[in-house]
Amino acid sequence: MTTKTLIRSLAMAAALAAAPAMAQTPVKIGLVTTLSGPGGYIGADIRDGFQIAIDMEGGRLGGIPVQLLVEDDGFNPGKGKQVVEKFLKTERIKLVTGIVFSNIAGAAVPDVLDEGAIYVSPNAGPSNFAGKECHKNYFVVSWQNDSLHESAGKAVQDLGYKRAFILAPNYQAGRDALTGFKRFFKGEIAGEVYTRLDQTDYAAEMAQIRAANPDVVFQFHPGGLGITFLRQYQQAGLAGAIPMVVAAPSMDLTTMNSVGDSAVGVRLTSHWFHDFDNPTSKKFVEEFQKKFNRLPTFYASQSFDTALAIGAALKGTNGNVNNTDAFRTAMLKAEFQSVRGPFRFGPNQHPIQDWWAGEIVRGPDGKPMMKSGARVMSNHGDAYAADCKL
């Protein structure tokens, strides 16, 4: 898949070079993402979402010809670092994007910034880069990690649940998830359980949930973990009995399709749903479906927005990425139509945006279907912005 995209990008670049009218050399953009491992589908959506934005403009972003280079980080921070090194030193790329996982971002992003290049995140938004260690060349278009779970906490609060049972794997993002949730959920915590990151059987946790008999369950188990968790939640007979609210990464379209009926009734919060009724979003979903024959996940939408944000900045600087200060000024204006609707950058160059509720319902064809609901939070930033001095 990687090679195919690469060849496609190269062919496009070649086509551009062949056209005599275009004197401008394309701006190179390096996209390093996770294409292998259980999270491989996330990277594929990030790659495809970005590509769609370029295709829709006929090989350009913001009117400036671009050349996209895609590389797999293999779900390995060391490999991610190597790829970034290659992008910066060999390819002389000044614009890097694409990383899915916070631990890989933690390893690779500092290299980009040290080199004086620009990083625009389409997904991972770890807390350490959002506060004191924020950087003028580091932009996040997706979200700060905590805000995903803060919106879920707020949603649970708004739904009027009093006692919540919360679970997450025992690692940094898992602990951040529960912290974020508790920041906005003011009710009683009926139980707080840290699972193992390599756990495959949640029978003990299911029994604990049943014994605690909470009003609601909040869990953060991304990717394959979440699929197993949801299936066992149903097998334990809890699916109909105790409602579940999760944040977007625990219930994307891929997860929903994998677990099938177990997903029905699960509520979630997200900053974007594929059924959003605004022109940019509709066009994006339509083009994505036409080209890839599947619905885009929210990961793809973030990547599409990232491409649009970069396009707006390229337009503002007339394609000059070497003057990073001018690029930053243009970038921060965020003069693009996000698929989410209102979007702007906060003081730490992370998004300020709305969060929405959603639910998995049974569609007309009997299969589970994701449906967006009411707004949960308006113009929500993050808790770390105050520590950022830029």
Partner: protein
């Protein structure tokens, strides 16, 4: 109280699963003197064969047959092609070769089925839950796993204590050289034992499929616990595997379920969580260390 009972059942169910893996591993180790790291791969292959068959035909019975056949046949092929050349070598060579097999099987599965995990539905007959006590529903499928485990244990007991081949197995576990000296075709015995071990690993994989996801590397996760069971139970002892597996399953589940809550009554929430999560994942290894300290040959040593 009902929670304790439910967690006890969960522990027994994990124990039964571990027993099916450990029985094969301990026999292979005890009788053939081979450390087979690729035992987890047989678990994975059984699970994959069953998952694919179930997806194609929709029949759990066919899936069961396919999974058992795939694991059993593959086990005998591994013994015939790879391990037969390694009996005379030391353990390090065997570890290297079987570790190589793990990499080989994992990559083969990735090439054939990709990295996306597969999911198997619980067979319709075993779906749902029964109320063991009022207010304690327990999934039927997990009870079925426990029942299958008990049947396997009984079957192995009959096989080992009541049949001729069992006699050879016991003799082999006690003194390999003597059995060979007495003119028994030890090579055939080895292949049979390895095939039997592979069959049990495959069975465990098939049973695990509907509970967890069928994915690359699923064997290695459970293999580590299986080695703990073998060491605790005593190498080469099937009886040791039974009790070791139940002990590890129950202790692991109980610690995970109750230790964080217990610690929280004594100290601040976040510290209790961190300590509880850490201690409960260490628990079975501490148990192993304790057993080794008191009974260095395991609880039920096979060798005299």
């Amino acid at each position: 109280m009902t929670l304790v009972l439910e967690q006890l059942l969960n522990g027994v169910q994990l124990g039964v699963m571990l027993f099916m893996l450990a029985a094969g591993l301990t026999l292979i180790f005890g009788i053939m003197g081979v450390i087979n790291l690729a035992h987890g791969s047989l678990f994975m292959v059984g699970a994959y064969a069953a998952a694919v068959t179930a997806a194609q035909t929709g029949s759990f019975l066919l899936a069961l047959v396919a999974g058992l056949a795939a694991a059993g046949v593959l086990g005998m092929v591994i013994e015939f092609v790879v391990l037969r050349r390694l009996y005379a070598r030391d353990h390090l060579d065997q570890v290297l070769a079987t570790f190589g097999l793990i990499l080989f099987f994992n990559q083969s599965i990735i090439l054939i089925f990709g990295r996306q995990p597969m999911f198997v539905n619980i067979p319709p007959a075993f779906q749902g839950a029964v109320e063991l006590l009022p207010g304690v529903p327990y999934p039927i499928y997990r009870l079925v796993i426990i029942a299958v485990g008990i049947l396997v244990a009984l079957g192995l007991w009959v096989l080992i204590t009541r049949t001729r081949i069992g006699m050879l197995v016991r003799a082999g576990a006690t003194n390999r050289e003597m059995v060979r000296a007495l003119g028994v075709d030890i090579r055939l015995l080895y292949t049979v034992v390895f095939g039997l071990g592979a069959l049990l690993a495959g069975l465990a994989g098939i049973m695990a499929g509907p509970l967890t996801s069928v994915q690359v590397g699923m064997g290695e996760q459970i293999l580590i616990l299986t080695f703990v069971v073998v060491v605790i139970g005593g190498i080469g002892s099937v009886r040791g595997a039974v009790f070791g597996a139940l002990l590890v399953g129950v202790v692991d589940t109980m610690l995970r379920a109750f230790l964080p809550g217990f610690l929280r009554t004594m100290m601040a929430g976040s510290e209790a969580d961190a300590l509880g999560a850490g201690l409960s994942s260490m628990g079975v290894y501490l148990l192993m260390a304790l057993v080794l300290l008191l009974r260095p040959k395991g609880l039920f040593p096979a060798h005299g």
